[in-house]
């Protein structure tokens, strides 16, 4: 991916319709020069992983505010493993309690961004981590 723009799929898994955060992040990443594919609402983990593979994404950002993150983030991480696509960096955000973060990290979510995270932090994180892999 040298010299290429970072490609990020921003996804809303599950039934949650709160898309304010996902859309703000998608736009901020775009403004930072990344290529962003926003999936729209109500995507199954299967659909999200398919999109990530088809789009040759470097990272997948998941946003959930409904409390279903343990189920749905886990499923996305599992499916990426099944497709041998663990190199796709998974990050997430939403209303996610502190105590869930280590569990999510264990299953392969690289980073959880809690409420009031700045978009700059997310951009810096992606740039730092995706450059390491080059």
């Amino acid at each position: 991916m040298k010299g290429k723009k970072i490609r990020v799929v921003v996804a809303k898994p599950g039934l949650d319709g709160h898309d304010r955060g996902a859309k703000v992040v998608a736009r901020a990443l775009r403004d930072a020069g990344m290529e962003v594919i926003y999936t729209g609402l109500r995507q199954t983990p299967e659909q999200i992983v398919q999109t990530a593979l088809q789009e040759d994404a470097d990272a997948v950002g998941l946003s959930i505010l409904s409390g279903a993150h343990m189920t749905l983030f886990t499923r996305v991480a599992e499916l990426l493993k099944e497709h041998e696509a663990e190199d796709i960096l998974v990050f997430g955000g939403g209303i996610i309690p502190d105590e869930d973060i280590p569990k999510l990290e264990e299953i392969g979510v690289a980073r959880i961004f809690q409420p009031s995270t700045t978009t700059t932090e997310i951009i810096d994180f992606l740039e730092a981590n995706l450059q390491v892999q080059e």
Binding site: L15, V24, I95
Partner: protein, 542 residues
């Protein structure tokens, strides 16, 4: 609209001035004088409280006679758990119930639907069938409490279940009071929990309003909501404008269905957010009443006073709560609650300090309720109606908010109404833009958020949070299995096929929804049946 002396009362005046297209962005004058109100006509723009155009309040005595209803939004887990929380709140002195439903219920899906995995009972109570509704209100006589139900796409189905429970409790539906949110337009605009495309969705709304007009005369058949629009990132003016324009759309549809404006308009109710900018919020509430009174009287020719009144519920701003230093949220909520009360709200929900982290605990909910009780019983605010009326600043701001909102509504009129504006993505884009600009302002430090981009501390005190485990879904799935084997399958099938038949005609669907609910057809089965006729909505991408 003229804007003079554009100096913001702030130490940060070095920022370049942005296009001041909304009041949220505009710079205030350092102070206001009688000349700023030169255009203000007391009778035309304000009126006494209880008099047209109700800017100062819908009642002449307001809280002197009757305090606002303290209505905490609550619901999680199984129907049993929410029943217990409701009883807890009633015991603590809350005067009305407000039920939150989980996502599968909001989307018309049963707990055993694969899409419901991980979501059952998470952000509200789960309702799969009338059986759950019976448990939810067990020991709560429906003629003695007012219940607000936050449900939209399947609102007509939940209303049908509510009526069925009342009948089982021996309560005459005519004695039911409360509010059904039932506002599908703001779902398309902001909250995004839709099922059917706009036209059949609007039909369900009109059917339920018509049914309530005939059979539930004390029940608010819709709560036209700005809350979700604001939470999605809109400005105060956008919240007001889109909400009232949604209101216009509902009135037009009801009129087209042959209803008379004064038959249904008195039961239209509204629902607003209360955010941090105290005076702008007060101005918004006052402007809402003024605008709606003129819309109803002049645009729709309503004659009944109650048709002119914008009665509304207020919910303090969930999106203003910070995960950092959560105790600070107690203060934010108190200021927002103050704005709502100074703005003459009819009922109020105060958010809990831990809601940026998870569902609130009982202790946090109790503190939120106590905030309202202190305002009601210790502050002295209820003694005088519209205590800020006549303030040069607040009156001027009220007129500015009103004028800006009116412009937005005219733009939407020009697009052919709200449904057409939604199809064009207009309100959605406006909100997205405002939300992005807000985020940028926070990140550049132009907007200061205490504990977030200034005055940070390293330690975050652990806040106890409430968790809903997977056992809720398991329990519901077992209950559904039992229900499906116990109920009269033929009667369910008949009720659903009659419903489908009626959906193809222009009949009011409410009586058939009640029949289906009474036969214990599940929410998912009922919504699926209607999907076969109405289809499903897909959001265009913006």
């Amino acid at each position: 609209m003229k804007m003079t002396g554009a100096d913001k009362v702030s130490s940060k005046t070095s920022e370049p001035e942005k296009s001041a297209d909304t009041v949220s962005e505009q710079r205030y004058q350092p102070f206001y004088r009688p000349e700023d109100l030169a255009d203000l006509g007391y009778q035309r723009d304000l009126g006494d409280p209880g008099e047209f155009p109700y800017t100062r309040g819908v009642h002449s005595t307001m809280y002197r006679e009757k305090l606002w209803t303290m209505r905490q939004f609550s619901g999680f887990g199984s129907p049993e758990e929410t029943n217990r929380r409701s009883k807890f709140l009633l015991e603590k002195g809350q005067t009305g119930l407000s039920i939150a439903f989980d996502l599968p219920t909001l989307m018309g899906l049963d707990s055993d639907n694969p899409f419901s995995e991980g979501e059952v009972g998470k952000c509200g109570v789960v309702i799969d069938s009338l059986e759950d509704m019976e448990i939810l209100f067990e020991g709560i006589p429906l003629d003695r409490v007012t219940t607000s139900m936050t449900i939209n796409a399947p609102a007509a189905v939940l209303l049908a279940m509510y009526v069925a429970v009342a009948e089982k409790q021996g309560v005459d539906p005519a004695h039911l009071s409360g509010t059904l949110q039932n506002d599908i337009l703001k779902e398309f605009i902001a909250q995004k929990e839709w099922i059917y495309p706009p036209e059949p969705s609007m039909r369900l709304v009109v059917n339920s309003i018509q049914f309530c007009t005939q059979h539930l005369p004390r029940y608010n058949s819709i709560s036209i909501s700005g809350y979700h629009i604001r939470e999605a990132g809109s400005t105060a003016v956008q919240e007001l404008a889109f909400t009232l324009r949604d209101g216009i759309e509902y009135v037009e549809w009801c009129l087209r269905a042959g209803m008379k404006v004064d038959e249904f308009a008195p039961r239209l109710s509204f629902f607003f957010d209360s955010h941090n900018n105290l005076f702008e919020e007060v101005a918004k509430f006052r402007a809402a009443r003024q605008l709606w009174a003129y819309i109803m009287r002049d645009r729709f020719g309503a004659r009944e006073k109650r048709s002119w009144m914008c009665r509304f519920h207020t919910h303090t701003a969930g999106c203003s709560l910070t995960a950092q230093q959560p105790l600070n949220n107690v203060i934010r909520t108190a200021i927002q609650a103050l704005a709502a009360v100074l703005g003459g709200t009819n009922s109020l929900h105060t958010t809990s300090m831990d809601e940026a982290l998870a569902l609130p605990t009982e202790a946090a909910v109790q503190m939120a309720l106590r905030t309202q009780q202190i305002l009601a019983h210790e502050s002295g605010i209820p003694d005088t109606v519209d205590p800020l009326g006549g303030s040069f600043f607040v009156e001027r701001l009220t007129q500015e908010v009103e004028g800006e909102a009116r412009k937005y509504m005219e733009t939407i009129d020009g697009m052919g109404g709200m449904i057409s504006a939604i199809e064009k993505g207009f309100p959605q884009r406006e909100i997205q833009e405002a939300s992005y600009q807000h985020q940028r302002a926070v990140e550049t430090g132009e907007k200061l958020v205490v504990g977030v981009n200034e005055f940070q501390t390293d330690e975050s005190p652990p806040v106890e949070t409430l968790r809903i485990g997977p056992e809720t879904r398991k329990g519901q799935c077992q209950r559904l299995d039992k229900l499906r084997s116990r109920r009269d399958t033929r009667a369910v099938k008949r009720a659903l096929s009659e419903l489908k038949e009626a959906a193809r005609s222009d009949k009011n669907l409410m009586p058939l929804l009640i029949e289906a609910a009474k036969e214990y057809a599940t929410l998912g089965e009922i919504c699926e049946t209607l999907k076969e006729v109405f289809g499903e909505y897909r959001e265009p991408s913006f």
